[in-house]
Symmetry: C2
Subunit: 320 residues, 2 copies
C-alpha cells in the first residue's frame, strides 16, 4: 500500500490553451511537448487504514487546503477504481526550486498518478495513466512519457480518447530556461483559459489553428527538422498569448523581461544560432535549441535570471 | 503659390490596422483618435514654375529618396486636381524631437494636404482634405480635425466615403506619452498590416471586433465616460497587437519597457488612478488619463524614458 514514483515536467511546444470540458479536464486543442530532464517531482503515496484523512506534504511543509483538496479529489479517482476506502499520506518533493516559479502541476500529477495507482495495487497501461493524470492537470497527461509526446484532444464525452502518446524519445535537443525575476502572481492558467474562451474574439481561430500547428510540429519531429519545429513552437506560443491578450479584459502573462528574452532569442537567430522562443502562462523565457548551441543561448539569457539547460527527460517511473 | 500650414499628430484610441485597398489607402476598419496638442508639423509648400523637380527639406535636412518620392506622389494628386504642372519646394518641421521616434506621418500628411491645396489655390472642405490626407497616410485623415475624431472605413471602391469626422472637441482629457529608449527599428506599419492580413489567423476576427469597439468608444465619448473609453482603448490596442503577434512569422512591436509601462499603468489603476494603456506600431507607451491625474501618471512612467503630457490638440490650419 506504499509506492514512490518520479515524473518530469514538460514544456508544451504546441500549446494547450482552452478546455472542452472542465469536469473531466478535457482540452479544446491537442498539444505537443518535450519532457524535461532535471526538473522532476518525486512522490510517495501510502494508503493506510489508520489515517482519518488524506494529508499532503509538499517539499517538507504541510500543503494548503486548496492543494490538499485537489490531491484528495484525485486520490478519490484512484480509490474508486481500486475499490479502496483507505486515506493516504502523500509526500511530494520537487528537485528544482519552487521559489523560481517553475513548480509544475505536470510533474506533480504525473508522479501522483503513477505512485497512487501503484500503491493501490492497480496495474495501468501508460495510456490509462495518461488519462488519469489528465484529471489532475491537463499537462500532466504528457509527463507520463519521456522525450516528445503528443496530447490528443479527443472527441468523446467521457475523455477516454483524450490522452498523450510518445512521438520520439531519441532526439537530443535542448531547452534553455531563464526564470525572470518577478514577484507578480500570474492569472492561474485554468482561469486564463476560461476567460479567453469566454471573451477573446480570437479564441475560435486559436482552436482551429492549433490543429494545423500540431501536424506541422509532428512532421518536423519525425524529420528531426529543428528549424521547422522551432518556427511552429514560437508561432504556437505567440498565438496562444495573443488569444489571451485579446480577452476582455486582457490576460497578459509577459513581463518586461519576457519580451527582452524574446528579443535576445531573435538576435541570436539573426546571428545564425538555432533558437526559438516559447513561454507558458507565466513570465519565464524558454528557448528551444540544439546541444551545440545550448551554452551560448544560456549565456545570452543569463541576464534575465537563473537559467537551466534541460535535455529531453525520461518516462515517469516507479522508484519503490 | 505659397502656403504654410500646421497639423497635429493624433493617437488612435480605437486602432487602425489593415487596409481594404492599398492603391487608394483605404482602411479595412474604422478608427477613432484624439488629436494631440504640442506635437505638430509645420509645412511650407511653394509651387514654382522654375523648379525642375520637387524637393523636400525635413527638419532642415534634405529628405531621402523614399520620403521625397512619397511626397511627390502626393503632390501629383494636388496638381492633377488644380490643373498645375509646377514642381514644388516643401519644407517640413516637427516641433517635437524626431529622434524620440514619435515622428508621425499623421501630422506630416495632414499639414501637407492643407498647405499644398492652399498653395495650389484649391478651396477644399474639411471632408475633402481628410480624404486627400488619407492618400498620404491613413492616420493623417484624422489629423485634419482637433479633439476626438472618427475615421470611417467606408464601403465605396473610390474611397469617397472613407474620411474622418470630428466627434467632440471640448472634452479635456490627457494623453501621457513615454518614449521608451530603444534603437530597434520597428516593422513599418504598412508592412505589418499587410503581413497580418495575409498570415494572422486572427485578422478576420480583428476586423469584426473593431466595428463593435468603435461604437463603444463613440458612445463613451458622447457620455464623457473616461472609464468606458479607457477600457475600450486598452482593449483595442491589445487586440491589434495580438492580431499582429499571431501573424506568421510574428510582428511584435513591444520591447521590454513597453510591457513595464503596461504593468505600471495597471498598478496605477489598481490604486485608483484612472489611466489606460495604449501603444502604436512601435515600442512607446501612452496612457489615457484625466487632467487631475496626468502628472501622477507622468511621474510613474518617467523611468521608461522621456515623457510628455498632451492636451487635446487643435484643428489643422493655414498659417500663412
Amino acid at each position: 500500500m506504499r509506492a514512490v514514483a518520479r515524473a518530469n515536467t514538460n514544456i508544451a511546444l504546441v500549446k494547450y490553451w482552452g478546455k472542452r470540458d472542465t469536469a473531466l479536464n478535457l482540452p479544446a486543442v491537442g498539444s505537443l511537448s518535450l519532457t524535461l530532464d532535471g526538473l522532476s517531482t518525486r512522490t510517495t503515496v501510502v494508503f493506510d487504514g489508520k489515517l482519518a484523512a488524506d494529508s499532503l506534504l509538499l517539499n517538507g511543509a504541510d500543503a494548503d487546503e486548496r492543494a490538499l483538496g485537489r490531491v484528495s479529489k484525485f486520490l478519490d479517482l484512484v480509490r474508486t477504481r481500486a475499490g479502496l476506502i483507505e486515506r493516504a499520506r502523500v509526500e511530494s518533493v520537487n528537485d528544482f526550486p519552487t521559489a523560481a516559479g517553475l513548480a509544475s502541476s505536470a510533474s506533480a500529477f504525473a508522479a501522483l498518478a503513477v505512485a497512487a495507482t501503484h500503491a493501490a495495487g492497480l496495474e495501468l497501461s501508460d495510456r490509462e495513466l495518461s488519462i488519469l493524470a489528465r484529471r489532475g492537470s491537463g499537462s500532466a497527461a504528457r509527463s507520463i512519457f519521456g522525450g516528445f509526446s503528443q496530447m490528443h484532444r479527443g472527441e468523446s464525452a467521457d475523455g477516454e480518447d483524450s490522452f498523450a502518446e510518445p512521438i520520439v524519445t531519441d532526439w537530443d535537443v535542448r531547452l534553455v530556461i531563464a526564470a525572470t525575476m518577478t514577484g507578480r502572481k500570474a492569472t492561474l492558467s485554468t482561469d486564463g483559459m476560461r476567460h479567453t474562451a469566454e471573451t477573446s474574439p480570437y479564441y475560435d481561430a486559436w482552436v482551429k489553428m492549433s490543429e494545423r500547428d500540431l501536424g506541422t510540429a509532428r512532421d518536423a519531429i519525425t524529420r528531426r527538422d529543428l528549424q521547422a519545429l522551432g518556427e511552429v513552437t514560437e508561432a504556437s506560443c505567440l498565438s496562444m498569448h495573443a488569444s489571451a491578450m485579446a480577452a476582455r479584459p486582457a490576460v497578459l502573462y509577459f513581463v518586461g523581461a519576457t519580451i527582452e528574452g524574446y528579443r535576445i532569442i531573435q538576435d541570436l537567430r539573426r546571428s545564425g544560432v538555432p533558437a526559438w522562443f516559447t513561454c507558458d502562462a507565466g513570465p519565464h523565457v524558454k528557448a528551444l535549441t540544439d546541444a551545440a548551441h545550448a551554452q551560448q543561448v544560456e549565456a545570452a539569457l543569463a541576464k534575465l535570471g537563473k537559467t537551466w539547460i534541460c535535455r529531453p527527460g525520461p518516462h515517469a517511473e516507479v522508484l519503490e
